[in-house]
Structure formats: C-alpha cells, structure tokens
Amino acid sequence: MKRRVEIGVLYSHSGNYRLISDACRTGVMKAIAAVNADPRLPVEFTPVEYDPQANIDRYAAGCAEILEKSSARHVIGCVTSWSRKEVIPTLERSNGTLWYACPYEGFEANDHVVYMHACPNQQLVPLLGYVVPRFGADGFLLGSNYIWGWETNRVARDLIADAGGRVRGERYLPLGEAGVSRLVAEIEAARPNFILNNLIGTSSYAFFEAYAELGRRDPHFTPETCPILSCNLTECELPAIAGFADGHLSVGPYFHDAEAHGWDAAVSANMPGSSFEASASACVHALAQVLAVNPDAGWADLPAVFASGAFKGPFGDVRIDQQTQHATLPVEIGRIEGTSFRTISLTNGVAPDPYLSRYDRRTVFPRPGLRVVS
C-alpha cells in the first residue's frame, strides 16, 4: 500500500515564458505518473497546483496557499529568479522547500531551495570556455531587464576580460518587449565575435528572427562567424524560432540528442524533450527517493539525505551537494538544428560552484604557452 503524499506545483500556465513553464510542468506530471506507477516506491504523489498566471506578485501568495491549505511541504516550481526570490521568505516562514528546475545566475544557497538545474560554472563558464578559442573573445551582451540578465552578464563581463576580450555592448529590454531593431543596429555597428543572449521569451524569439535577417544582409552575422549563445535555450522553445536559429549555440545539463547519448529509438522516445522537463522530472524522482526513506522529511532533513548518496533520474545518478543544495550535472553544449540540438561537447559530473569560488581563469581560458627562443 502506497502512502499518499501531496506535493506543490507552482508553474504559470500562461505568460511570455509559457513554453518553459509548460516543459517544467510536463516533466513534473510525467514523473509523478512514473512514481505512482512504480511498485517499488512506497509513496504516491498528489499534485497541489497553483497557477500564478505569470504575475510576479502571485508567486509568494501561491506558495503560501499550497503550504497552508494542503499537507505539502515540498513545492516544485518557479521559472524566473525573480519569482524564486519572491517565494523564499514564504518557504522560510512555513518550513517549506522549493525544488527549482531552471538554470539561474548563481550566488545563492538557501537551505529551503534545492537547485536542480545549472548554475554559472555549469553553463556560462564552460560555454565561453568553448566559444572564445573558436570565435574570439569580444562579446555583445543582451538581457531581459531583471536579475537573470543583469547577473549573468556581470559574470560574462569578468570572463570576457579574463579571456583578453572586450565587451562591445550591453543592452537590456523590458520583459516581453519585442522591439529589437535598435539593438540589432547596435550589434551591426559593434561587430562582436559572439552575442550572449540572456533575453527571455518573446524578446528572445524576436531577436533570433531579426538577427537572421541581419545575417542575410551581412555575412559576418551568421552562426559560423558570430554565433548567438544562450544559457537557458532548450528544445522547448525551438518551435518559436524554427528557421531562424540553426547553427547557434546553447548550453545545459541535457539535450535530447539520441546519437550523442547512444539511445536506441525506444529509449529516445521515453527521454525528456528538454533539460527543463528533465530537471523538473529529476526533482520529483529525487523527492520520491527522499520520502521513500523518511516520509516526513522536511527542509532540515535534506542535507543529511543528500550526503548519503545519489538519486536516480533522467540525468542518470545525480548527487546533490549537501552544503549548497545544488546538483552535480552534466554540461552539454549544443548546436541548433531545426527543432533539436546536436551535442557538440559533453562533460559529465560537473560539481556545482554557485559562488564561483573555485573559478580559475587559467583553466577556463588557457593561453597558448610561450616558447623559449634561445
């Protein structure tokens, strides 16, 4: 007999980052179905859903409603860093835990949050480490006007300086803004080696389209000489930019590339469609394994559980660092081909370093050794 456990699900069903929240929700629901169908697991999950409707002020209220009106102690949810930071005070007050399934800008380690997607040393740092020797070190930085763009670009400025490059420009658009012509004109004038795209949702889609148009006018602005780099772009958003994005690059813990992973057709059909879906699923699977051992485990019990071993899930065996509560993850760099990614670089088991306290520019951007001439 399985024990029934309520878990909170806090994703918007609408709004300009709906493709991402839908992918996360799909991952959660598929994993709940899998857990409930698994006779070896003693728990059965009932989702308690709240839809904040992409309204930033409804996240804390929604989180509070889940924690107060149901028996749920664990909530899987939030897409933007802004919403995550909004719900943290509620989690601290109500003894809840947020399982967060999206990449974020780092510099946070709250013991009421489990970070299941990539932080900068698992996305931005290896991506620039890959791109700089191949394309050059001069970048143009774009972002939506909130913490993800600001902080990611801030780290990028330092990385570019360490790589010996120059920031050719830095521009921000309000969330949801689709007017990108001025920004594209600035990029055309600045002629960088790459563009770091931290725009989200509709702004990002409009930019990809306008950049493809620019590439038709001027061959410098094509993926072969000046790619668009993203740290949060996955398969779930490719339909919105299909035809404009081929050849551009993204980084994440997972791409659905059967060949790179050696999946046969049957395995491939069952694998998550994107890293958002994979990460949200990983949250549910890890939570099921935590609650299988201790059905009442709350936030205070998690560090000991995390220290005791790894969790099985779509990323393979995932270890969660007990000190930072961030996951050790693969790092994949993918090139867009239509509505999928081709994995062009894969590193397994990259430990999280959310404060970049182990960052060393000499290993990320090794300079070619000087030869001694005698």
């Binding site: 380690a109 709250n110 013991d111 801030r154 404060y355 970049l356 306290s357 182990r358």
Partner: protein
C-alpha cells in the same frame, strides 16, 4: 577593487566565528562553506592562527576585549559583528572594535555573502585611508625640516625663493619627495659638508 565589477573571489578564504556554540554558529558555518570559505568556530578566545585569517565574525552579546589578540579597533582583517541585544552599551562596545559589517541575529540564509563583501570593501577603504593619513602626517611632521633645509641652502647665497627652487630640483633629480630631499640636505650639513652643494644624483 579598482575595476569595480569582478567575480568576488572568496574561495579558500578563512573565517573565524567567535561565538559560543549555538545555532547561529551552525547557520554561519553552513553558509560560509556554501560560499567556499573555510570556517573555524571558537569560544571564548580566538586561536593564535586567527592572525592569518581573512575574516572574523564576533558575538556582540557576550564579547569582551580580552578575546582579541589586538587592541580595540586595530584588527588586521575585516570584522563582522553578530548583534543580538541592541543594548546601547553593547553597541558602544562593538563600535570601539570598528566592525566593518554587521548581521542581526537570528541568522538565516541571507545576509552573510553581502556582509563578507561589504566588510572586505570597508576594511580595504579604511586601511588605505589610514595609510594615506599616516603619509600626510609624516609629511606635515617634516615641515620643519623643509624650512631648515631652505635656510641652509640660502646660506649658499641664494634668496629664499631660489633656495626653495633648488631644493625642489634636488628632489626631482634624486627622485624623492621634498621632505626626503630636505632630510638629505640637513644630513649633508650636519656631516660638516654644509658649504658644499649636494651632488645631483
């Protein structure tokens, strides 16, 4: 800190937490480890190797001067005060130690990272300001030497303005400050060479 924005490099830094065994210490140690620092908790005294530490967190509620191997206000690293009771006497004591940042108890997940960065910045600013003040004080203290050197150079027949100009050109030639040049002129004079013009370097 001249470049402004920079990945704050706290990895491997050592912090000492001077507080009696308590949940506060656990909360701080956990967060310091997450940020990448090595945390050492101690009570009631700081160990000798604190002098090699990068940060010291100290309890204001139960703290006293003898816990520190330095005089109040002369810590050789950034200090972060842990405030519980806001009694005026305790605040006065904490001010005497010139804490560079503060955290109010109870301490949770937030605040520690910003306290580290604020304390480091404030400490560096205080240190460089103190060095600047010391250098200026030293220069002011040398005013008399300059007056004496100008008078000595006047003895060579130059007028006051000419003597001052000569001292300045000596300083430039030796690539030293006016004060140092004046000291050298006086040294020459006291060695009985006062009548000779000091050689240009």
């Amino acid at each position: 800190m001249s470049r402004g924005a920079r990945i704050p490099n706290l990895g491997g830094a050592r912090a000492f937490v001077l507080h009696r065994p308590h949940a506060t210490v656990q909360a701080i140690s956990r967060q310091l480890a997450a940020i990448g620092l090595e945390a050492n908790d101690c009570w009631p005294e700081l160990p000798p190797d604190v002098l090699a530490g990068d940060f010291v967190f100290f309890d204001v509620d139960m703290g006293f001067d003898d816990q520190f191997p330095w005089r109040p206000g002369e810590a050789p690293m950034p200090l972060i005060a842990l405030i519980g009771s806001e009694a005026p006497g305790r605040i006065e004591w904490l001010l005497s130690h010139k804490a560079d940042a503060q955290l109010v108890k109870p301490i949770g997940n937030s605040g520690i990272y910003s306290a580290l960065l604020i304390a480091r910045q404030a400490f560096e600013a205080r240190k460089s300001l103190a060095a600047e003040v010391a250098a200026l004080e030293a220069r002011i203290g040398e005013r008399q030497t300059i007056v004496r050197a100008v008078l000595a150079l006047r003895g060579n027949g130059a007028d006051e303005e000419g003597a001052y100009r000569q001292l300045r050109s000596l300083a430039m030639g030796w690539q030293v400050s006016m004060e140092e040049a004046a000291r050298r002129v006086m040294a020459h004079k006291s060695e009985g060479l006062g009548d000779e013009r000091p050689q240009r370097a």
